[in-house]
């Protein structure tokens, strides 16, 4: 139903070339892993795909039943987790999810938010302020937030960041479930996470 087409992406920061001529297509059920040295542009590539950063050249297109989705709308079809992202620390985990439901136009349903928290292993801490969360719990909440609208495109930048073995299992389950729902792009240098990919793009090459 949905597909992603990335054509000849190139990104410069000032005079520094991060990457060039990155092209690929992604279809429902596929998982793409992006790897590369620190500073090779993995996170930037994910941010470009999400529509948060403009590429120097090239383009990213997302299609729904063959029709191109406008760039401004594309962001809302994306669920993204990244180390640089934060959620609202002065709100509880459940209030965060409630906010993102409302702002995304999803009818707020406490039960499905709690179910999402259950899925990411946070149900016991649903009413705790996020500022009191550990970094691993924050990562789990970011995963819950990214999955809230069942996005057709899931972008995971170092998804296992700060997670324990149980958390890593949750990530594995999320990626497996996303194969039924849509596409996944993972940026990581961790072998376990790169191995989830059906294909691998190495930005250091």
């Amino acid at each position: 139903m949905y597909s992603l087409k990335v054509s000849y992406l190139c990104k410069h920061y000032s005079q520094t070339l991060l990457f060039k001529d990155i092209s690929f297509e992604l279809h429902p059920g596929e998982v793409l892993a992006i790897t590369g040295w620190n500073g090779s542009g993995k996170s930037t590539l994910l941010r470009i795909i999400a529509g948060l950063v403009r590429p120097t050249t090239g383009k990213v297109e997302m299609f729904f039943k063959g029709e191109s989705i406008p760039k401004e709308s594309r962001r809302r079809f994306v669920g993204m987790v990244a180390p640089a992202f934060s959620l609202y620390e002065e709100l509880t985990a459940l209030e965060n999810l409630e906010f993102f439901c409302k702002v995304r136009g999803i009818a707020y349903d406490r039960k499905s938010c709690l179910a999402m928290m259950e899925r990411t292993g946070l149900s016991e801490n649903a009413h705790k302020l996020c500022r009191n969360y550990s970094s691993g719990m924050k990562q789990r909440l970011k995963l819950a937030q990214a999955l809230l609208h069942s996005p057709p495109l899931l972008l995971l930048d170092e998804p296992g960041c700060n997670l324990d073995s149980k958390g890593m299992k949750i990530v594995e389950n999320i990626i497996a479930a996303q194969r039924q729902l849509g596409m996944t792009v993972i940026a990581s240098n961790e072998k376990r996470e790169v191995d989830y990919g059906d294909r691998v793009i190495n930005l250091s090459e």
């Binding site: 962001r75 809302r76 079809f77 992202f85 934060s86 702002v103 996005p151």
Partner: protein
Amino acid sequence: MKSGRWITETGSSTYLSEAVAIWLRDLRGEFRTRYAVNSILMFAVTTLIAVSFSIGSFRIGDDEQPFLYAVLLWIILVFSALSGLSRSFVKEEEAGTMDVLKLSARPQAVFLGKLFFNLTLLGALELIIVPSFILLMNYEIKLPGLFTAMVVSGGIGLGGGTTIVAAMIAQASARGALFSVLSFPLLLPLMITAIKGCEKSAVGTNNPGWPEVRIAVAYSIVMIVMSLFLFPLIWEESMQ
């Protein structure tokens, strides 16, 4: 579960409902942290007390009172607003929540949500400062209707102007200085109009149609409508 829940349920999402969600989130966050409220109120109360002690109600001649009190009132309101209203966007950048917000909400809804939040803060500021100023300075107002309309319409214009400037400076490094420098020329016409209107309400000059209020209302409408067009460009421009 079907993929693309947003597509199927987008019918329930309007700019207004998204804006209200952002407004309520900001209010809830502000209620718990009180960063902006503390900053605005501390500035306003300190300035008000300093002005009332140093000038008082007896050092200014009766003829000059309406004009000078109007000037002092608007100086307190505008500079108090400048001390805290930039927080609406700056805190999103500082906390690292801006990217998630960009992925979740439409730019116009974000602007409206932040505008509602700033207007709420300004409303609270005016509710506290204006009656206190009137009492402490023994400020005699002959046309309370005109005065109230001027304070309300001036507050809306002030909120509209400061919100769009806050959005522009959110990613800059010298935010505080930039916010004041950029806001001042933008707010100057409104300040002059509001001072004139408040002076007339104190003197009792009842011009038909309250021209100063109409100017402030027009300023607010133009500022908010232009900002709704401008904000998506600022939003896109931040994606380098």
